[in-house]
Structures are given as C-alpha cells and as structure tokens.
C-alpha cells in the first residue's frame, strides 16, 4: 500500500490513530498584534508509536502540545481545527469537551509531562498528597490501592519509593522530580503521553537515565508518546517518526531514519548539520544563518526563505505545502529535489 500524494489525505487514511489533529491553528493576542503560534497543522499519532516534534524556541511546538490538552493561556485561541482522540473504539472530539468530560480526558487519556519538572509539583504538599489528589480526581477511592500502585510506579522509575513518597518536592533533585512526574503520568494508564522537553535542564547522566527509562517503559507498557524537543539527539534515541516544525507549522515529517539520513527540507538539513556528535571523528558543522522569524510579522511565501540557501523568487511569493517524497515522508519545500544531504 502506498501513501497518498496529498498530506491531508495521508493523515485522513489513519482512521484508527490514537490522536488525529486536523488543520489546527492557534493564535495569541499580544500588544503588537496577533502571534501566529501554530498554523494549519495536521498530524496523526498511531497507537503505540512515538513521534517527535522538533523545532527551536518559538516554533510553536509547546503551544501545539498545550492546545491538545486544552491548557493554553487565556490570551491564546484555537482558531480552527479538530483534535480527534480514539481508544478502544471510543471517539472523542477533544476541542468540544467541556467541564468534567474534559477533566477526565486529561491525565486518564492523555497525560502531559511538562518541561519545567522542577516546578511541576506544588511546593507545599507532599508527593503522596499530590499523587492521591490525582487519583481521587479520577474516581479512585481506595487510598491503600493508590498508594500500592504509586509505590510500584516509583520503583519502576528507579526511586526509593518508601522514602520519596512522603517527601516534599524541594527535598528531591531535578532528576528525581522528573522521574516522579513520569511515574505519576503512568498512574492512570493513559493511552497518550505528551512529553515537553523531558530532559532539558537535566544533567547528562540523568538525561541518559530518563531516556533509557522512557524507552523501557514504552516497551513494557506500550503507550503512545508524543514528545517535543529542540534536541535532535533525543529524537534519534526515542522516536519512530519525526516532524520538524518551523514558524508554527510542520515543514517535514517522516520516519526517523529518513529524516536523519535523507532530509529534504533545508531547515531539517540545517538542524542536523548544526549538531555535533561525540562518537566518531571531527566533522565540520554549519549553523543556519539569520535568526528565527517574528511570529507576529511573518515573512511572505515560505517562512524559511530569508535563512535558506536554496531560496528563489517562488519561495518569496508562495508558501509550499507538505508534498510526498517517499513512503510516509513529506516535506514542504519547492526545491526538495535539490536538497541533498550528501552535498
């Protein structure tokens, strides 16, 4: 079976996907004008897969994640689109969920592990209290059962459960807090877990612990993972598929190896070329010239053209849409045929 040429059709064919985003746009109101944080994103996330959203600060990746769980700040508005969530044959339209239905969707269906795990815990409540709060909000009444399950999960993330569960957040290190949060994310057996920069601001050895942990947990529990990072390396370690975001939209999406070894969007290529590796000899690196675009006053045409070596008149005038390159591999570039990583 070959994938359709049109990206929208491609997303539409995955009717069984755990999460499907249709044409999502999110705007912020700012003093200077409207911030186009997310522009017309369509995306599907199959049950059990692990998709990485890669982009730099201001690419809209965190906004998109917050939009999915409906936690955007008041000044932000999802101006169009649909989020369809499916589990065991049940379908939910996330953007139309209200009140208790929305509350139950959160964490029980889609849990989100935040970027700043350092502040993810209420400083005045013990870890146990915060776990119990979560369970209670989703209908658990048996304190003993919750505590037993919490201890198992804390064990699973390699923490001294007996000790950690009765501590206050400030008594834990950053890495420990991040692991507690991951354990807490598994508490209600959600189908989808969104991880926003799960390892940023952590030490290398702690990062490694978390990466291995996530890989093992995913193998053991088979949840669906959407993670967001500016760090390509995390994607290489954990993702089946990668989507590159630039100026609020997806510019390239495909299987991990395809993206790394045959990138077809100049931005993806630039990102890969800009990151040094430890293994192997010395490689010459290049950075992408210029700086990320102003989301209030976006460039015309392809938003990447001011920084792009391949840019032509057409790029300045017309914005390209995602176009099929290979099986499951789509890129939004007029000149993808000339983009060759070997050069």
């Amino acid at each position: 079976m070959t994938t359709p040429a049109n990206y929208q059709d491609y997303v539409a064919t995955h009717e069984q996907a755990a999460l499907r985003l249709k044409d999502i746009s999110i705007n912020y109101k700012a003093k200077r004008g409207i911030v186009h944080a997310v522009r017309n994103i369509s995306l599907h996330l199959n049950a059990g897969e692990s998709l990485a959203l890669i982009g730099e600060s201001g690419s809209g990746k965190s906004t998109l994640a917050l939009g999915i769980v409906r936690l955007l700040v008041k000044s932000a508005e999802i101006s169009s689109g649909k989020v369809i969530y499916q589990r065991d044959g049940k379908t939910m339209e996330v953007l139309s969920l209200q009140g208790d239905a929305l509350r139950r969707f959160r964490w029980a269906e889609t849990a989100m592990v935040f970027q700043a795990a350092l502040n993810a815990f209420n400083p005045v409540l013990r870890i146990w209290q915060q776990i119990w709060d979560t369970a209670k909000a989703h209908g658990w009444r048996d304190k003993k059962a919750v505590r037993k399950k919490a201890m198992e999960l804390l064990d699973l993330v390699q923490l001294d459960a007996e000790r950690v569960i009765d501590l206050y957040p400030h008594e834990l290190s950053g890495g420990m807090r991040q692991r507690v949060l991951i354990a807490l994310a598994l508490m209600l057996d959600p189908q989808v877990i969104i991880l926003d920069e799960p390892t940023t601001a952590l030490d290398i050895l702690t990062q490694r612990t978390i990466i291995n942990l996530l890989r093992d947990l995913k193998a053991a529990r088979n949840f669906t993972m959407l993670f967001i990072s500016h760090n390509l390396a995390i994607a290489a370690e954990l993702a089946n598929r990668i989507a590159t975001m630039y100026a609020g939209t997806i510019v390239e999406i495909g299987p991990t190896d395809e993206i790394f070894y045959h990138p077809r969007h100049p931005y993806t290529l630039g990102l890969i070329r800009a990151v040094p590796t430890v293994t192997g000899g010395f490689e010459k690196l290049e950075s992408i010239p210029g700086s990320p675009p102003d989301l209030i006053d976006l460039p015309t045409g392809c938003k990447f053209h001011p920084r792009c070596a391949f840019a032509t008149e057409r790029c300045r005038l017309e914005e390209p849409v995602l176009e099929k390159i290979d099986e499951d591999h789509y890129a939004a570039c007029w000149h993808w045929r000339s983009v060759n990583p070997k050069l």
Binding site: N231, L285, I288, P292
Partner: protein
C-alpha cells in the same frame, strides 16, 4: 559545609583551549569564577604568569583582572536591561582610559561589534538587550568581554542557552577570536559534544566530578579513549543526533542513578557509589591520585588505569 572545589590542580598555557566538563554542582563554574577573580579561593592559590593572585600587589592584580574575562551562560541575564549596547561597550574603555574620548570609544565599540559578527555595528550600538535575540545578546556579551583586550576568557556554558541552529556560529566566532587575538580559552560546559567540537585540534579536556578532577588529557584521547569510568559514563550517556549510533552505542549501567549531595561526599573516590567497576577496599578507602594515563594526560582511577 559545602566543598565545591576540592584540591583541583590544573595549569593552562597561553593560547590553550581547555574545556572543563562536568555535571551541574561538580564545581566547574566555581572554578571558572575563581579564575576570573570573582570568587576568592579560600585555600590554595591561583597563579597567573607564575604569580599567586592573592600575593599580587594592586597594580599586578589589576593587570590580572583586566586580562581575565568571563562570558556567562544566560544571554537574558548577562546584559543590563537598562543600558544600551554602546554604554556596555564604551564604559569599560572609558573607565580604564583605554581610549582618549567618547568618539574614540564609540569607534572601538563599533569595531568590537564587527568582530563578533554584529554587522552593521551602527544598527546594534543603540539597542537595548530586549531588542536583541538570544544569539545576538551572547555576541554582545563576548564583545564586552573583549573590551579590555584580555588574554584569557572563561566561557561559562556560553552557548548552552542559545538555539541549536545558532550554537555552531558562536563557537566558530570564538575560535576565530582565538586566531586573531591569541586569546586563551577556558570553555566550561556539560556537553561533551560541544567540548569535542570546540577543542578538537589542539585543546584539552578536563573532567570534574563533585569538586575533583577525575581525568584530563588531549581532547582526542579523552573522547576516543576515556580512561575514567565517569568520563566513560558521560561519553556513552550523551544522546547522539544519529539514529544508527543511538541504536548501537554502548552504554554503561550505573549502580546508582542519583548524584550524591555535596553535603555528604562519599569516602574515597566520590564516584564509587555509582561506578560499575567499583572494587570494595580500593575505591572507597582513599581519594585516588591523578596519575599519567596512556595516550596523554592524567586520570584518577586505580581500577581502570592500573600500572602495567
């Protein structure tokens, strides 16, 4: 009582590129601050051109202070939000009488901006920090560090908060400075990949763990043939931006995931509670000495670096 840096002894020769690598809390920033004269060393000494800085007379100390500058990590905190770029660059010049008048100071400031790649300088002189991007701010930080024409720059995690796509260009700018000004660099980072990239040709890497140097040596040797278990653990832990390497790379399983508190340092080699090569009675008894390692440099591990 916290001992941030314990018995560290390193020497840096003019024109060197030295990367100080370690995790947060290992004392690498404390080291950088002591070298830049921002923190006093309570015990021991910092020698500059062979002279102990605490024994220097006023004039010598001034000379030393002006010769050693620092570039900080956070481009959002390292520039005074109430000052224009030109004020930041002109003040040190005027204060230390490196120029005759304001016009000359302004010309010099423009020249510095040009050197760090902020062109045309006229556009950047009259900007406030909040009008600049993270990468641009970091360049201004570097330009400010260059005002007194230092011979030594401590770059404390200087690119770790800059967008990935711009990091390399700032690193190359720093490398370029070394070529034109013969500046000696102490590059403090937690990222071995950056250390490798920055110091590959003729640099050295010093690895610190909980306030002690555990290994040092030429970059290529340390990266390709790490001798200390901690260096190995760090190297293998670095996530690689290459799926093939990520799949095949070997990993070291640590015995303990969490770093001990500085308040309660383990006995002997402070890495022993986490070290997979731990040998009871050896590692937990006395602090291992740094001894010459095969292929250059020194390493402090009695187990992996056994004398032949």
């Amino acid at each position: 009582m916290i001992t941030a840096v314990d018995s560290v002894s390193i020497s840096i020769m003019p024109g060197d590129i030295v990367c100080l690598v370690g995790e947060s809390g290992c004392g690498k920033s404390t080291m950088g601050y002591m070298i830049a004269g921002l923190l006093p060393a309570s015990d021991g000494q910092v020698l500059f051109k062979g002279k102990d800085i605490s024994q220097m007379n006023k004039e010598e100390y001034r000379h030393y202070r002006h010769n050693v500058q620092i570039v900080h990590q956070d481009p959002y905190a390292s520039l005074n939000p109430t000052q224009l770029v030109e004020q930041m660059l002109m003040t040190p010049l005027l204060h230390h009488r490196r120029v005759k008048n304001r016009a000359e100071a302004r010309a010099k400031a423009a020249e510095l901006l040009h050197i760090v790649g902020l062109t045309p300088p006229a556009d950047f002189l009259v900007k406030y920090p909040h009008q600049l991007s993270g990468g641009q701010r970091q360049r201004v930080s570097v330009a400010r560090a260059l005002t007194l024409e230092p011979s030594f720059i401590v770059a404390d995690e200087a690119v770790s908060m800059v967008d990935v796509s711009l990091r390399v260009s700032i690193l190359s700018m720093l490398t370029h400075l070394r070529e034109i000004f013969h500046v000696t660099f102490l590059f403090i980072t937690h990222d071995l990949a950056l250390a490798k990239y920055f110091a590959w040709e003729e640099g050295r890497i010093i690895v610190m763990y909980l306030g002690r140097v555990v290994e040092e040596g030429p970059t290529q040797r340390v990266i390709q043939n790490p001798r200390h278990p901690y260096t190995q653990a760090l190297l293998y832990a670095v996530p690689e931006a290459d799926p093939e390497i990520a799949r095949t790379k070997k990993h070291i399983e640590l015995r303990e995931a969490d770093i001990p508190s500085l308040l309660n340092l383990p006995s002997g080699c402070s890495f022993h509670p986490r070290c997979p090569f731990f040998q009871p009675g050896v590692c937990d008894v006395s602090v291992p000495e740094l001894v010459p390692a095969e292929g250059g440099g020194r390493v402090a591990c009695p187990v992996l670096n056994k004398a032949p």
